[in-house]
Every structure is written in C-alpha cells, then in structure tokens.
C-alpha cells in the first residue's frame, strides 16, 4: 500500500503517522506539503494528521480545508481513494465538506490528553475490517475541540447507514460528543475521520498496539 501524509503548517502528528505507516506497510509515505497542488498519483491512502493546522485560526480545520492540496484531496476522495483524517485531520474533513457535522469545543472546556476506551461499532468497511464488531480498544485522545455535533436527522442517518465506526465506551466520552461518536465514515465509505489517535498505538514500546489493525485493514483492502 502506498500512502501520503499531508503536512499543514502546525501539523504535529504527521511524523507519528509516517512512522506507523512505514512500520506497518514497509514503505515510507510521501510527505506532501499543504501548498503543493497534487498528491502523487500512485497513492492508495491519504492521511490528514493531527495538530493545530494554521493555529486553529477562525475554527479548527477551517483554513486547512481551503489550502491548495485539499482541492486534490477532495478530487481523490470523489474518485474513491482512501482518506483517513485523525484528530485535526477529522476537523479538516468536516470543514472541507467531506464528512458531515462539525467538531466543537469540548463540553467541559478542557483539553483532554489521555487514553480512552472505544468500541468498534462497524467493521464492514476498509478501515476496520480486521477488528471484531463491538471490540473494545484503547486509543489516546489529545484535543480541545472534539465534541462532535450534527443535527438529529444527520445523526440518525449516520447510525442507520452504519457509518458510526467508533464510539467512546460508556462513561468515557471525553468531550460531550453527540451519541458518544468518536469516528465516522462518508457515504461512499472511503473517507474516515476520528478524534482518537490510532497511529500512536502501533508499537508496544508506546504502550499499546490497538491501532495496528486499522492500518492492516487498509493494506488488506488495497491488495
């Protein structure tokens, strides 16, 4: 699987994503600068990493969603290429209109930085096929604006179409997110956004390996 990681000014999980991708896929990802106009054509997976792109000016992800490289990300999403947005990457995907809803300030106004229990709600997709349905995993979260919001109609639709992929486990919702939503798919199921960080739990030295199955799912999906 060939991958690319988009680097925005003030991305700070781009290297974490690159290390995880290289370890698991065996290939170094392309690091694509936000001002570039194109992502290499042979790329199967584009990762929008965590961080504070453009200093979170105006709204988290708002400026990044308008950067030059995003036009190509949007085009490639429409072609069916796989896009994974983690944390700030999820915020960028909602601002770019590739995923529904918005990520608001955490309900308790605190920046949360800790491991959080999640359940894998959906495995009929390219990102989580190697997890078990209902499996409990622990990924770290590190965000101040992860409170997922959408109107009830949109939430019902996401649930009805099996597009809620990750939920915070009962009692572990760190940000007030609607219906404990931690990660969602787009309608075509080729774009996933989530607030927790699977790329930070891919090596036992870093305290866990629950995130590996996501990248292994992607490898299996494109092979």
């Amino acid at each position: 699987m060939k991958s690319a990681v988009v680097v925005f000014p003030a991305s700070n999980c781009d290297r974490d994503a690159a290390v995880a991708l290289e370890q698991i896929t065996g290939k170094k990802p392309h690091m694509v600068w936000h001002a570039d106009s194109e992502i290499p054509k042979d790329v199967d997976l584009i990762v929008l990493p965590g961080g504070f792109s453009y200093g979170d000016y105006l709204r988290c992800g708002a400026m990044a969603s308008l950067s030059r490289v995003m036009q190509d990300v949007i085009a490639k999403a429409q072609e069916g290429r796989l896009i994974l947005g983690i944390c700030n990457g999820f915020q960028v995907l909602t601002e770019a209109g590739l995923l529904p809803g918005a990520l608001m300030r955490n309900a308790n106004l605190k920046f949360v930085c800790r491991p959080v229990g999640l359940t894998v709600e959906e495995t009929q997709n390219v990102f989580t096929r190697k997890y078990d349905n209902g499996q409990r995993v622990v990924f770290p979260v590190a965000h101040g604006d992860g409170n997922y919001f959408a109107d009830n109609e949109t939430l019902d639709r996401l649930e009805g179409e099996g597009r809620v992929v990750f939920r915070y486990a009962e009692g572990e919702n760190p940000n007030g997110s609607s219906r404990n939503i931690a990660g969602i798919l787009n309608e075509k199921r080729n774009v996933l956004g989530l607030m927790p960080h699977p790329e930070r739990v891919c090596d036992p030295l870093l305290g866990g390996t629950d995130g590996r199955a996501m990248f292994e799912s992607l490898i299996e999906s494109v092979s």
Binding site: L58, A62, N147
Partner: protein, 80 residues
C-alpha cells in the same frame, strides 16, 4: 466600505464558553445574569461601494468561510 460580521452559535447549540462566562459573572457578584452566548466579530474593509453588491459578497464570504453554518449563524452590518 466597512462591514462588520457577527458570527454566533445557532440557538440550541451548546455554548460551553458562554456558560463559563455566565458562571464567572455570577461569581463576581453580578446578579440576575441569565444565559450568556459568546460569538465572534469580524471587521472587513471592502473596495465595493454598492451596498447590495457588498452585502451579496459578504453573504458568500460567510457561507464559504466566516461561519460554519452547521453550528453557526451570521449577521452582516454595513457601515456608512
């Protein structure tokens, strides 16, 4: 022409910052403080002198960037 754009959370959307400000005001001893909602003010200078055209252009700016209309609403004020 100068314009002022107000961006605020839609009614019904939780505003934890507004709530915290309300608590702080009560804590300072201000009595009778009800709901507090926080928003943004964006001042924009425009070369356009036609008010209708300026308004149309500002509306487009709000829809495309200044507000996230999933959670926010906007008001545009044109200044003389």
């Amino acid at each position: 022409m100068k314009a002022r754009v107000f961006v605020t959370l839609k009614n019904g959307v939780l505003d934890p910052q507004g709530k915290a400000i309300g608590h702080a005001l009560s804590g300072l001893g201000f009595e009778g403080v009800g709901e507090v909602r926080q928003g943004k003010v964006i001042d924009i200078e425009l070369a356009e002198s036609d008010r209708a055209k300026a308004k149309a252009s500002l509306t487009e700016m709000c829809e495309k960037l200044l507000a996230n209309t999933i959670i926010e609403k906007y008001d545009i004020e044109l200044q003389a």
